[in-house]
Amino acid sequence: MPVFWTSVGDFLAMGGYGVYVWGAYGVTTLAVLAEVMALRGRARRSGPLTRRADEAHRS
Amino acid sequence: MSTLAAILRFELLLAWRRRSALATTLGFFVIVASLFPLALGADPKLLRLIGAGVVWVAALLATLLGLARLFAADHEDGTLEQLRLAPLPLPLAVMAKLAAHWLLTAVPLCLAAPILGLQYGLSQGAIGVLVAGLLLGTPVLCLVGAVGAALTLGLRASGVLVPVIVLPLEVPVLIMGAGAVEAQASGLGAGPWLSLLAALFIVFLVAAPSVIAFALRISSE
């Protein structure tokens, strides 16, 4: 499939709608990252227990 | 049936002893509704346009006031436990309690609403529709609010939680109630909106007491 854009500048400008398009994708990325980071923090807090739980099933 | 009447009478008596609390609800309702002209300006055309909506929002908030504590006293002194064990089904007892609550808190709002309507320059017909809508809608507000009150029973944060849980669920009542007045004012007739509100009222009257009783069981197990 051919790439539609002819230059990186065109791609970033999004036909004049760059602010809207990148604003939408940027905030979505932030929201997803925030959720993933929050989950990782939670897993780290219960780290020893998680390890214990994983080992309980390996044996 | 006599137990039901006894609960109703008892609740009315109890609430009457705390009548200053009832006056607070009414005062809140009137104050909130009076704030809007001060914030938005006193243009009569604007006020006539927003009047019904403002009165409805004020009523919605005012009914929330007493709700968070609706079952709290009964929960703390063990009355709720007694009601659960009583031969009378819990949903019926809940209904009697709510009927008393509605009579003492919401009916005064409905009676005060015409005065606020006049302040906003609503026509007589519009005021009639407003009061009819409030009479049909406030029981639904009480029933929905009671679900929230039952679920948050005994929680420290219940005062904040009840509005957060209950307000989104009360949106249809607000839309239908304010919509009825607006439809009347624009000459379309309030009939369909009031019918919808009546339908909502009947559905909630049938379904909500069991849901509230169930929520009370969850909270007091």
Binding site: G16, E35 | P168, L169, L188
Partner: protein, 251 residues
């Protein structure tokens, strides 16, 4: 008969947190990997390959996240209501934990749908927000998610939190259609705000493919995140259960 008993016993086996825990641990990396691959493919098609829309210009590229996010936000609430029925009907612990682990993801997708909807609406309709039935319902759905999360996190007793949350999720699910239709009828009264959201489905093949890939990626992401979160919940709640204590004694 025999198969149904076997299926049921298997279902009950995996309905136990202790057995579901390792299963979720084995499954979630696959879902996460699928989400990443599909999202990259969908974004490549949506942002790089698909041509500009004739009427909306490049602003339409927002729908590659907006539409899947809006779908997910509604679908996750339905799944939560389904788990709520299981929780109240069969008293299963795992269903309540699944319900709980889906809620933050649902709220996240609702927020994304609202945000991207505003950014799409501004260039396309000339306004950030319209009080139209779909947008208003989506906003109220966001409030419902917030109410659910607030109630669950305010109750310390896990059994009560599960059951109260389940009841709120169910009452909310029953209310969503009422809200949708009341806003819709209300809108016919206010004709000023009428914006036609239903446009001719003249999407190019690449656009459709991109959106489909993104939608499946959102599914995979939701499943992966819910599985990871349910694992954390299981560990936090079952710290005193036998299967976890014995493992600790073996250290």
């Amino acid at each position: 008969m025999a198969t149904s008993t076997a299926a049921r016993s298997m279902l009950f086996r995996y309905a136990s947190p202790a057995t579901f825990y390792p299963l979720a641990g084995r499954l979630w990396p696959w879902f996460a990997a699928a989400a990443v691959v599909l999202a990259l493919a969908g974004l490549a098609i949506g942002l790089l390959v698909a041509p500009t829309d004739a009427t909306q210009g490049d602003a339409y590229r927002i729908i590659f996240i907006h539409v899947p996010a809006a779908w997910m936000s509604m679908f996750i609430y339905l799944v939560m209501a389904f788990y709520a029925v299981l929780t109240l009907g069969f008293n299963t612990r795992l269903s309540a934990m699944m319900m709980r682990s889906l809620a933050p993801t649902g709220a996240m997708f609702t927020f994304v749908a609202l945000w991207t909807g505003a950014l799409w609406g501004k260039p396309t309709w000339g306004t950030w927000w319209v009080w139209d039935a779909r947008l208003t319902s989506e906003l109220i759905l966001f409030f419902l998610y917030l109410g659910f999360i607030a109630l669950q996190s305010a109750i310390d007793d896990t059994r009560r939190a599960d059951r109260a949350g389940a009841l709120v999720a169910l009452v909310g699910a029953v209310n969503v259609p009422i809200i949708y239709f009341s806003v819709k009828w209300w809108n016919t009264l206010h004709q000023g705000a009428s914006v036609s959201l239903t446009r001719a489905p003249s999407m190019a093949r690449d656009m459709l493919l991109g959106m489909l890939l993104m939608a499946i990626a959102c599914w995979m992401y939701s499943i992966a995140v819910a599985l990871v979160r349910v694992r954390a919940l299981i560990v936090e709640r079952e710290r005193d259960a036998a299967w976890l204590r014995e493992a600790g004694a073996a250290d």
